[in-house]
């Protein structure tokens, strides 16, 4: 615990989160405007989609951890125009389905209704919508598993293990 605390304060002292020097950020996207890929209501829908995929239980869900913004950022910066279009249309499609099936928008639908929509897409036969959903689900899992909350509290990431043991017993979970 103490080590973890020390580590954090070291990271702060080293200015890890502070702006990078010009020569380093030359390789970053900082010059590009930070505007999102999606409109505000679409972003809200995406946040609800990721929260439905990984919901709040006794620990925070993907929505609360900001994974929706992560998914959007990844698709915007790391994917091609086709994938970006697929993200926007896929989210709209989900909202339309919700209105058709349950008479309310996706964000207003119940937890069960939302799960049902996403589950039907995942198991369905619409390949375009399946492709969209698989991209969003994979990015949601990635964003969630690499979030500060999960890496700190659940998977216990060690920045400085300072050891390697080649053969230790598997701990029984």
């Amino acid at each position: 615990m103490e080590r973890r605390g020390a580590l954090k304060s070291m990271a702060v002292a080293m200015g890890a989160m502070a702006g990078l020097p010009a020569w380093a950020s030359g390789w970053n996207k900082s010059a590009v405007a930070k505007s999102g890929l999606l409109a505000a209501d679409q972003s809200k829908n995406l946040a609800m989609i990721v929260e439905t995929i990984i919901p709040k239980t006794d620990t925070p869900g993907a929505g609360e951890l900001g994974v929706g913004d992560f998914v959007q950022k990844m698709v915007k910066d790391c994917y091609d125009a086709k994938a970006q279009a697929s993200l926007a249309s896929g989210i709209s499609n989900i909202d339309e389905q919700s209105v058709q099936r349950f008479g309310k928008s996706f964000t207003d639908a119940s937890k069960e209704q939302r799960l049902q929509i996403l589950s039907d897409i995942e198991k369905g036969s619409d390949t375009a919508q399946k492709g969209f959903f698989s991209m969003v689900k994979n990015l949601t899992i990635q964003g969630y598993m690499t979030s500060e909350y999960v890496m700190t509290n659940i998977t216990h990431y060690e920045m400085i293990p300072a050891r390697y043991h080649g053969c230790v017993p598997v701990k029984k979970g």
Binding site: I54, D77, K137, P161, G166, V168, V170
Partner: protein
Amino acid sequence: MANFNIDSKKARTYDAIVIGSGISGGWSAKELTERGLKTLVLERGRDVQHIKDYPTTNMMPWEFEHRERLPKEIADANPIAARCYNFKESSMHFFAKDNEHPYIQEKPFDWLRGYQVGGKSLLWARQTQRWSKYDFEGPARDQFAVEWPIGYDDIAPWYSHVEKFAGITGNKDGIDALPDGEFLPPHELNCVEKYFKEQVSKQYKDRHIIIGRAAHITEPQQIHLDQGRAKCQHRTICERGCPFGGYFSSNSSTIPWAAKTGNMTLRPHSVVHSIIYDDKKQKASGVRVIDANTKQMIEFYADIIFLNAAALNSNLVLLNSTSSRFPNGLGNDSGLLGKYIAFHNYRATVSGQYEGFLDSTTDGKRPNGGYIPRFRNVYKQETDFLRGYAAGFSAYRMTSNDRDGLGESLKAGLHETKYGNWGVGSHMMGETIPKESNYVALDQNEKDPFGMPKLRISVDYDDNDEKMIKDYMEQVSEMFTKAGFTNVRTNDNHRNPGNDIHEMGGVRMGKDPKTSLLNKWNQLHHCKNVFVTDGASMTSTATQNPSLTYMALSARAVDYAVKQRKAKNL
């Protein structure tokens, strides 16, 4: 005005000039300054100071906005750099950008470069295996390229010299084809690696599995503490620069050591144009530099010049150093400058699984891996291809999380890590044969953004490499199968030459000035005060990672050069 010019020239005059500040340049600088020579170190890129200029070194995984994945814009703009395994969101600032440093590929060649103080020593994989007598004897025995002018005994003391200072971890394995060095305590092989070691020893009389020798401080000695370096903390994010100095880089070790003598002047942003040849004195008198910021040409002068620009750039500088005496490039009476370029062949991998030791796993992280020293054609020619290959070998416990379903069941699955079989993997490290037809040359028309001629690179695999790939796949598959590994698969990734980042040759060493450029002291046969001690000087490539040999050659050549200077022979 005349006086002003004289003073200016004096201010630009040093005892020695080192071109390049990477692994070999750092060593040249350290050895020269320690011997009291006022030394100018020229670096084409920016300054990168230890710790201060490692902007990502303490960032947590979640602090990288793309979690180490490359933004498309960057990947698209840098297709060559982006093919490097080490080019990541956290380390890309230590790579040269493709579009800023263009070259011409007559054949596909991935030229990976680190243009900053420290060069690629910030990015290397830190493996440091010595060469053996069989590697130095190779060309003469197997009748390719040209005979090495030195043998293992010439360089062995210099291996010791650099190993002690750099800090090399390893085990004394007593293997003929891979001599032991001055080692700090070894990293540990894990259970499956040890098991494989035993199986291989039982089944093959001259094949070995060992822990790699690597430039990590596992137990700091006084000489490392004196450098301000500390024990390796097993972070395994070395490519960001190590704030502990846990691995060897020019930035953490040789360059600050040289600075501490008070004899070093470091000049970043200095793109070397050429070495100046003085017809009257019949030797080099200095170096012409293009200031990267102002694009102005400046000359610096010295008695001794060490060329450590990294293999292909050292070729470029010499080819561009023309004079009435050397119209085809400095020291190039033989016409061989730029030819006999070779590299390492890392194309093939073999993977598998092991269903034993299922109650065991590993703990912590290891910045190193297992190693299979070359076993083919070591003592005599025994296959239908020349030379051989070393290989990496590592085992790891496979883990997975159930990603099925959605909602709470998915979340529960993600939180539970399941252990699978052990995974095992190997990659080949093949020796390639230097050939006259593998060359670099200056383009006659196209210039780079600094006004330097663009380098044309024409380097390719040959039949020998294809046969070696096949043999590696067969032999390692057989070793895996005999050890009881399952699901054994081979893969040829068809990567371009150069992607191994072990390009060598073009300014090779040799006994005869008619067939080589450098003598046994890495000294140009025809321009005695110029020394080339990086990968350009390599007569053949062996299978070992080459950096340790560049370090040893640099230290050895400086020792000789300084003695010759004192004796007024330079």
